[in-house]
């Protein structure tokens, strides 16, 4: 049963995860994904100091402390990286661990004085989504609105800053101002999200949705939208999954779902996904095989062999038998060859296609020798590849640039239709 508390928790998780997804896009594009992790760790001492100074558990003071220390962490990384010979990588590592240790010391002070609870550190790391209040959700919503507004208003400078900081600078944008704004936005989201979802999830939320969404689009607007949706779905899914057992931490389950999204993305995304690349490679390979067979049939035609079987073809050309069978099936599906009793012969359309490949091969050989000063004995290998790539448009350019040639460098005829 979905109780009203649960619905509240799910809404809260969805909102904070979506907002983190949006903010994470900038961190990701600016290659500062790990800075988010450092900030998340560095909020701990801020929360502790806020508690000690105010003497209350009032979320406002805890948040304020978190904001101050989170921003201080970003400044520290920047100073260490710019003013010493330490690399940014070391700076991030130093800040993450020292701030966190500092915070842990404070927590032990608090627990010794009998004020706080022992579980503080654990909640800080993994969050306690189950105890989310209406107030928390309202704060998340306000933060979400603020983020959406600033991302809308400052879309252009943020975009320039993320893709090309130097360019933004030369265009007269106040780069420092917008960088500070982005940093503050990141720190704010981390600080308010931490108590609900914990450090580890916050880091994952800033990285995984943004990294995944980048694979689906090239537009920043769409990227932020997709990232927000990924975040929200993972938030709700993780919240539901963590109901499976008692005392199940929410954060890790959200991360599992985020990771699932990332995995799906890496496998199925267009252009850069694993399966897309695999399909493209096998398409390339099929095209090469088909065109090679057609070319060979043409060359056999030239010496008077009009009909071939698999084995008579293999006498002339070396090729894997299964591959050859498959290729013959493909080209007869395309009506480029006819098959009668295991004997293959070029159709009229096939003859035109075969001529095209031979023509491209010979044109390219000519181009290599005439334009690129290649020696005649070195051109065949390259032309073997290029013949499959030359588009009709490139062919027209080639023919024109070579002034309608009739013979290739080996004095063979270049067949036109």
């Amino acid at each position: 049963m979905l109780s009203s508390t649960l619905i509240l928790v799910l809404i809260g998780l969805a909102v904070i995860s979506a907002v983190a997804g949006v903010v994470g896009c900038y961190a990701f594009l600016r290659k500062r994904a790990l800075v988010g992790d450092a900030v998340a760790h560095s909020v701990l001492p801020g929360v502790a100091v806020g508690f000690i100074l105010s003497g209350t558990k009032d979320p406002f003071y805890l948040l304020l402390g978190g904001l101050v220390f989170g921003y201080l962490a970003i400044l520290s990384i920047d100073v260490i990286h710019r003013k010493t010979k330490l690399s940014e990588d070391s700076a991030i590592g130093l800040v993450t661990t020292i701030y966190f240790a500092f915070g842990s010391v404070f927590l032990s002070v608090i627990s010794n004085s009998g004020n706080g609870d022992q579980a503080g550190l654990k909640d800080f790391l993994f969050g306690k989504a189950a105890t989310m209040t209406e107030m928390d959700v309202i704060v998340f919503l306000i933060a979400a609105i603020l983020v959406v507004i600033s991302v809308g208003v400052f879309y252009k400078p943020f975009l320039l800053l993320s893709f090309n900081k130097d360019f933004a600078n030369t265009q007269g944008w106040k780069v420092n101002f917008y960088e500070t704004l982005l940093s503050l936005m990141t720190v704010l989201i981390i600080a308010i999200g931490l108590q609900a979802v914990g450090v580890v999830l916050m880091s994952a939320l800033l990285i995984a949705p943004a990294a995944s969404s980048r694979y689906w689009t090239n537009s920043l607007r769409k990227m932020m939208a997709i990232s927000a949706v990924f975040g929200a779905m993972a938030g709700i899914g993780g919240g539901l999954l963590s109901l499976l057992g008692e005392d199940m931490p929410t954060g890790p389950w959200v991360i599992m779902i985020l990771f699932l999204f990332t995995l799906i993305t890496l496998l199925f995304a267009p252009e850069k996904g694993y399966f897309f690349i695999r399909r493209r490679n096998s398409n390339n390979l099929r095209k090469i095989n088909e065109e090679n067979v057609m070319k060979a049939l043409h060359q056999l035609n030239e010496i008077g062999i009009k009909e071939v079987t698999l084995s008579s073809f293999l006498d002339k050309r070396k090729m894997d038998t299964d591959q050859l069978q498959k290729t013959f099936n493909n080209v007869s599906d395309k009506d480029w060859v006819t098959k009668t009793n295991d004997v293959y012969a070029l159709t009229e359309r096939g003859a035109i296609e075969a001529k095209r490949i031979v023509r491209l091969h010979r044109l390219w050989e000519l181009y290599l020798t005439q334009r690129l000063n290649f020696k005649e004995d070195h051109i065949h290998g390259t032309a073997e590849t290029i013949e499959h790539l030359i588009t009709d448009e490139l062919e027209a350019q080639l023919v024109k640039e070579l002034d309608y040639p009739t013979e290739d460098p080996h004095n063979k005829e270049i067949p036109y239709n």
Partner: protein, 261 residues
């Protein structure tokens, strides 16, 4: 005997073919310049010869044998900006690396090794700076550290990637004198160079490269206006369109498994 022989070398970087069917044999005992515009594959060529890049096609021979057999006879001098000069090492530390050998890294360097390093430092005139941290040297001195490291190795063939970049005129001359002295001892120096101004006087032999090999030969023969035009006159339109096509379609740069009998 050839110092380096490159046959049908094709190399792709991120699917983009950066060297295309390059084919040449280089003589021994000369200063050989590899020239070409930015992005013409000069540094890639050196790295491919040193086995740092997988080859899409072709092979490389060093002193008529395989690279593996000749590793100790060929020394690589990388570009200066490939290292972090804040690294805690002195001139001597870096030059001694020239004597490191695979399989002997758990053993101490012998006195002979150390002596050879000291002599190499002397040759490049860095003896007073022997114990200085490498970050506290000038650009020219840093370049000489790398050359000394190669000298310490005692190689026959030296491959140098842009040794004159970021170096003042006086140092450029000092380095050139050093290279000429090495050549006069029979060593072969092959260096990548982006600038044609100072080339003619000092190089013996030239490889002109622009993704494909434009030409190669003794400098007085190949340094013609026509060759310069083909090297620096920009990439041919059709050629670069095809290069892009190969990258965007992720096309195999060399096909396999289908051959004429």
């Amino acid at each position: 005997m050839n110092s380096i022989e490159v046959h049908n070398l094709t190399v792709a970087y991120n699917q983009l073919p950066v060297l295309w069917d390059v084919d040449f044999e280089l003589p021994k005992g000369q200063i050989i310049g590899i020239v070409g515009p930015n992005g013409s594959g000069k540094s890639t060529l050196l790295k491919a010869i040193m086995g740092l890049f997988p080859l899409s096609s072709g092979y490389v021979k060093v002193l008529d044998s395989s690279l593996e057999q000749m590793r100790s006879s060929i020394a690589y001098v990388p570009q200066r900006e490939t290292v972090d000069w804040n690294f805690p090492a002195s001139v001597k530390d870096v030059v001694e690396m020239g004597r490191y050998q695979p399989g002997k890294l758990f053993r101490k360097l012998s006195n002979v090794d150390k002596q050879l390093a000291v002599e190499a430092i002397e040759k490049v005139k860095l003896t007073p700076f022997m114990d200085r941290q490498i970050g506290q040297l000038s650009g020219g001195q840093q370049q000489r550290v790398f050359i000394a490291r190669a000298l310490a190795q005692g190689a026959e063939v030296y491959l140098m990637d842009e040794p004159f970049i970021g170096v003042d005129v006086a140092t450029e001359k000092a380095i050139m004198d050093l290279l000429q002295a090495m050549r006069d001892e029979g060593k072969t120096i092959i260096l990548v160079h982006h600038d044609l101004q100072s080339v003619t006087a000092n190089f013996d032999y030239l490889v002109m490269l622009n993704t494909r090999l434009v030409t190669h030969g003794p400098i007085q023969e190949v340094l013609t206006a026509e060759n310069l035009q083909s090297t620096y006159g920009g990439q041919l339109n059709l050629f670069s369109q095809l290069q892009q096509l190969i990258q965007t379609k992720d096309f195999p740069i060399r096909e396999k498994g289908f051959e004429d009998k």
